[in-house]
């Protein structure tokens, strides 16, 4: 146990409670239900993986936590404080909940280092000099030494993703919201990124809300895996992954890992099929 982090989590901040949340798009018109009475409890410092077919409403949930979109009813709590509810449908976006977007949202006109120091400098939490110091250290930790003064467009997509995670962590967030961050990466880069993410996680304990449609990725990374139903979205099955952290790639070939995949793949497949058929109907 190099890092002393196990399946049970020692953190005290960063717990999220999604409590009976409903999201209906265009309630007066088409009234599309994206999220249906969804309840999910995420412990502080937990890696919670949200698995579901494309377009099932996972991102709607993430946008509600981040404060980009409103919810229709229910409430979301961060460390017991209400972020949003029926009375206040849209949460205030803030540095305690940072999103890492699917295709990345690094500012292309800023160098990697300037991107990394953006948050703390904007919030006035660190002086520019201190922020640069911290940014350099964190980038070095994430294997990004040497590309500080490159623009994001000049480095590989795997590096860009790491820069973005560093930029997020520089805000000292309670929750990291990752929206299929590795979707566009090839499978080799992806496997490297998984270990890199875990390494960063062990150093910077933070709650991670990670959206994916890749079941292996979910079980490999997560403490908890929530398999969502297709639109409208709610947890179909919540799995606690009892493989101890820290994990590395040997986990992928372990018996327990395979068992967990077998236990859950039916549920995932069923929802994917439903999503596909619904798509056929729409088309």
């Amino acid at each position: 146990m190099r890092y002393g982090v196990t399946g049970s989590v020692p953190l005290t901040r960063g717990s999220i409670l999604i409590d009976d949340v409903v999201k209906i798009y265009d309630p007066d018109g088409a009234a599309v239900m994206a999220v249906d009475h969804c309840t999910l409890d995420i412990g502080a410092g937990e890696i919670c993986m949200i698995v579901g077919p494309s377009g099932c409403g996972k991102t709607t949930l993430l946008n509600a936590i981040a404060g980009f979109h409103e919810i229709t009813s229910g409430r979301i709590l961060l460390d017991g404080e209400v972020l949003c509810s029926a009375e206040k449908p849209k949460a205030e976006p803030g540095p305690d909940r940072i999103v890492v977007f699917q295709n990345g949202a690094l500012f292309p006109w800023k160098t990697n280092l300037e991107n990394a120091v953006f948050g703390p400098v904007m919030q006035g939490k660190l002086s520019r000099k201190d922020a640069v110091h911290k940014g350099r250290a964190m980038m070095a930790d994430a294997g990004l030494a040497g590309v500080e003064h490159n623009y994001p467009g000049e480095v590989s997509s795997g590096m860009r993703r790491r820069v973005e995670i560093v930029r997020a962590l520089m805000n000292d967030p309670r929750v990291l919201l990752l929206d299929e961050p590795y979707r566009a990466l090839d499978s080799l880069t992806k496997s490297v990124m998984h270990e890199a993410l875990l390494e960063i996680y062990y150093k910077n304990k933070v709650t991670i809300f990670f959206i994916t449609h890749d079941l292996e990725e979910a079980i490999f990374l997560g403490h908890k895996v929530a398999i969502m139903t297709t639109r409208p979205c709610k947890p179909k099955k919540v799995l606690t992954v009892d493989i101890p952290h820290p994990r590395d790639y040997s986990v992928l070939t372990s018996r327990r890992f395979r068992e967990l995949i077998e236990e859950t793949s039916d549920a995932v497949h069923e929802e994917a099929l439903k999503a596909f058929q619904a798509g056929e109907k729409e088309g």
């Binding site: 981040a66 404060g67 980009f68 976006p93 803030g94 540095p95 909940r97 940072i98 999103v99 977007f101 949202a105 500012f107 292309p108 006109w109 800023k110 953006f118 948050g119 904007m122 919030q123 623009y151 994001p152 467009g153 000049e154 805000n171």
Partner: protein
């Protein structure tokens, strides 16, 4: 990689020179022999036209165009005259004043349209209504409207660049990815921070494109405006007038000299803008 690039670059330069040399030779031969390609290759076409009941001389005649060597001779003469350089100076002055005014007014106007719904609601309809009017249609009105002819020409060149700059700025600011705003907002940026650190740099590439296109239009407009407004008295001259004057005076070599001069002026100003554009958007020169 760089070596391969150099070889390719070398090859493309050779091709470019070859193309220009062939063009000049064809021009010289055609002009001297007073026939396209040195022989009457279009005779059948002429006969066919005649057979269809058209006049036989309905084809352009290269014999009327002075040969490149003649043009060069005329140029050497003209280069020593003050009037020629005076024309350069006047045209550049007009292009620059019109262009810079278009940037100064157009960039803030475009940004205001992009960020404020009120500004858009008030400003855009009028802008869209005036935009289809070609700048040259403004020439007579502009001469009446402005106290000096100089100002009226500068105003018309301003219009040439203005619409393009505004449309590009507006489009550029609108197409900034919403995720940039969301990230900046989550990381604690104020509205002013978002304007300064997201909208401005995010629009910069479009500003560069808009100004390059605008500069091209400005040269087109200034030449025509100078031809129309004529020389003599205040506000005359310029390269456009130089061409027109050569035509009226029957000096066909000088017409071509004027045409090439404007080509050079337009090329140099776009190149300057392009390198300035590259300098202000360093993140776009990749690898």
């Amino acid at each position: 990689m760089t070596r391969a690039k150099n070889i390719l670059l070398g090859r493309s330069i050779v091709r470019g020179i070859f193309s220009i040399v062939v063009f000049l030779i064809l021009w010289e031969v055609g002009s001297r022999s007073r026939q396209w390609l040195g022989a009457d290759v279009f005779a059948p076409v002429r006969e066919a036209l005649g057979a269809m009941g058209f006049k036989k001389n309905y084809l352009p005649w290269i014999g009327a165009v002075p040969a490149p060597t003649e043009v060069l001779k005329a140029w050497v003469v003209v280069i020593a005259s003050v009037g020629y350089w005076q024309s350069w100076y006047l045209s550049i002055l007009r292009v620059m004043s019109g262009f810079i005014a278009a940037m100064i007014v157009g960039i803030p106007f475009g940004l205001a349209l992009a960020v404020s719904r009120t500004a858009y609601g008030i400003g855009f309809p009028t802008f869209e209504m005036l935009r289809p009017i070609p700048p040259l249609a403004w020439v007579p009105a502009s001469i009446i409207f402005w106290p000096t002819q100089e100002l009226s020409i500068a105003f018309v060149t301003f219009l040439g660049a203005f619409y393009t700059v505004v449309i590009n700025v507006l489009g550029g600011a609108r197409s900034i990815d919403v995720r940039y705003y969301q990230s900046a907002q989550a990381m604690g940026s104020s509205s002013w921070d978002i304007f300064r650190r997201i909208i401005l740099p995010g629009t910069l590439p479009s500003i560069v494109v808009g100004s390059a296109v605008g500069m091209g239009i400005t040269w087109e407009v200034v030449v025509a405006a100078e031809m129309i407004s004529g020389g003599g008295g205040q506000g005359g001259g310029g390269l456009g007038f130089f061409i027109w004057n050569s035509y009226v005076g029957g000096s066909y070599e000088q017409i071509v000299v004027g045409m090439i001069s404007i080509g050079i002026a337009g090329f140099v100003s776009s190149e300057l803008l392009r390198s300035l554009g590259k300098y202000v958007t360093p993140w776009l020169r990749m690898r």
